[in-house]
């Protein structure tokens, strides 16, 4: 086993963690039209909850479960005032919410070490196995979680419910007069999206084994946004490929720095590239690489038979 393998495994784990975030943002933005600019907040709640519990000696299954519910709960509570607002207000409020939450973790050392951060004990300890095997185990867990999230998201969007949230995205008022309690749908999607972000945060903290407030800057939210708008909003497979692409790009920026000896700080270069790419995608391919997926329900089949009849 060689170092390139570790590199590939490492990247694969990150792709998985971010793909979960992308799927969760896709439920909120891609399908329901919610401008959640504070995705990182719920990721953060998941990561901190999971880390604190792991430090208290809880088994990993307990950590990730509680982290999921905690993030979902915070998402639900945050959504109550926020979702009554229009898209632009929602964006400002959620962005500020993430920053304030990060500030609380930074200032309140008793919660999780403040700026010093917190180390996370490994939940799975198998002595005497090589690092690659450990990474494979991590990888399996991450992709199992991704598979579950993907399944849930697909089930939601390919249903009458999924049709309604898309309708709300297209025209909220029209959905209302057609009898949809718009707020309920939005709150449910925001809660589900936040819970998934919690899953992702928990996996992330277990993998990197150390978190501090600087891990959760707004750039993380917008890396996920870029995955969604690049991959194709309202297409779950598309946004997962978006996650692959953005991760590859970020790694590429780092490699370029190492091998091309660019006189640019790699972090600056990475963020500048993300910034420019976001603008370019919105300008030249706002619909993303993949088109919105259809609402796949038995109605499609009924409709295809209808064609033959008439």
């Amino acid at each position: 086993m060689s170092e390139p393998l570790i590199y590939v495994l490492d990247m694969a784990v990150f792709v998985g963690i971010f793909a979960i975030l992308a799927v969760s943002l896709n439920l909120e933005y891609g399908f329901t039209g919610l401008a959640n600019f504070g995705k990182v907040a719920f990721f953060m709640v998941g990561a901190y909850t999971s880390s604190i519990l792991a430090n208290m000696g809880f088994p990993y299954l307990a950590c990730i479960t509680v982290a999921t519910f905690a993030a979902g709960f915070v998402g639900f509570v945050a959504s109550l005032p926020a979702l009554k607002l229009q898209a632009d207000y929602l964006a400002i409020v959620t962005l500020a919410f993430g920053e304030i939450l990060r500030f609380i973790f930074k200032n309140e050392e008793w919660i999780a070490g403040g700026v010093q951060g917190i180390t996370v004990p490994s939940a799975i300890t198998i002595t005497g196995v090589p690092i690659q095997t450990m990474m494979l185990i991590q990888l399996t867990i991450v992709y199992a979680a991704l598979a579950i999230c993907y399944f849930i998201a697909q089930r939601v969007v390919n249903s009458p419910y999924g049709r309604t949230i898309r309708a709300i995205r297209e025209d909220e008022l029209a959905a209302q007069v057609l009898g949809k309690d718009v707020f309920k749908y939005k709150a449910q999607m925001f809660t589900l999206g936040s819970a998934m972000a919690g899953v992702s945060g928990s996996l992330f903290s277990q993998y990197v084994r150390f978190i501090d407030p600087y891990t959760f800057e707004p750039i993380l939210t917008f890396t996920v946004w870029m995955m969604v708008i690049l991959g194709g909003p309202a297409n779950n497979l598309g946004v997962i490929l978006g996650a692959v692409f953005v991760q590859a790009l970020e790694r590429g920026a780092r490699i370029a720095k190492d091998y091309l000896l660019l006189p640019v700080d790699p972090h600056n270069l990475r963020v500048m590239i993300i910034g420019i790419l976001i603008i370019l995608i919105l300008m030249y391919r706002p619909q993303g690489l993949f088109r919105e997926s259809k609402v796949k329900t038995p109605a499609l089949e009924v409709a295809s038979k209808w064609k033959k009849r008439s």
Binding site: L85, I92, V93, A96, F103, P218, N268, I274, G275, L282
Partner: protein
Amino acid sequence: MVVVNWLQVLFNSAVTGSLYLLAAVGLTLTYGLTRFPNFAHAEFMALGAYAGYTIAEQLKLGFPYSFIAAFISSAALGAASYLLVFRPLTHRGATIIHLMVASIGLDFFVRHLIKQVWGGEQLSFRMVWPYFDVGPVRITGLWVALILSAIVMVGVMHIVLTRTRLGKAIRASANNPDLAMASGVDVEKIALVVWIVGAALAGVGGLFRAADTRLVPLIGWEILLPAFAVVILGGIGSFYGALIAAYVIGLAENFGVVFLVMFKLSTDYKFAIAFLILILTLILKPSGFGRLFGEGGKVV
């Protein structure tokens, strides 16, 4: 028991309010005109501060020149942002969410470009300002300059907005772009002017903030939240609303800090005060103060 110099707190509120006003004027007018909150406004402040730093500290040309440098560099960035990013996006039918995300992308790009050019470490202005005491209140020359700048800006803006055709067109467009367009106003030209002037004022605000405290690449981002609070409390697109809101939030923050100290909480939480005001405004009266002046408060 903490002894509080209330007059000083009051004066500090005027300083903070003037800063927020400079920061928020452009934000509220561009929000009204182009109908999306421009998150990259933060970097208009940051660029002005860094350009001013270069002139004042690296070239040693003195504060008046750095003031001009902040004004011009941020104005140029404002023009470039509108002409190269937001106008083309609008022409391509970008949604409000697209525009907001793009403004975040621009924010990241500019901030890290600044970081690349000037470095990420904290810089400070070495310039020494005279100070004097009026009764119990300590006043520095920088604060006087800041408050005077805000007053001059308000005076000029008031005359322009009420006495000139350009100003009337700006107010009309910021309140209801569709109606203004229908009445023959070239909204895009007006928008360009507003983006330039708004960015320039933000640059000046950033410079004052940097000279008063310290200079880091996040300087603009840190003022963005209170600036948004000013915009929302003042009513989107409303200049006069922003004028009142800036000082209201200046007061709330400075008096809030006193209470934070009294209750032994970290004063770092003062920016949560602006957030609280923002949230309460949105829940209780989303049009803010704007309606008082028959403007602002976004047409739904």
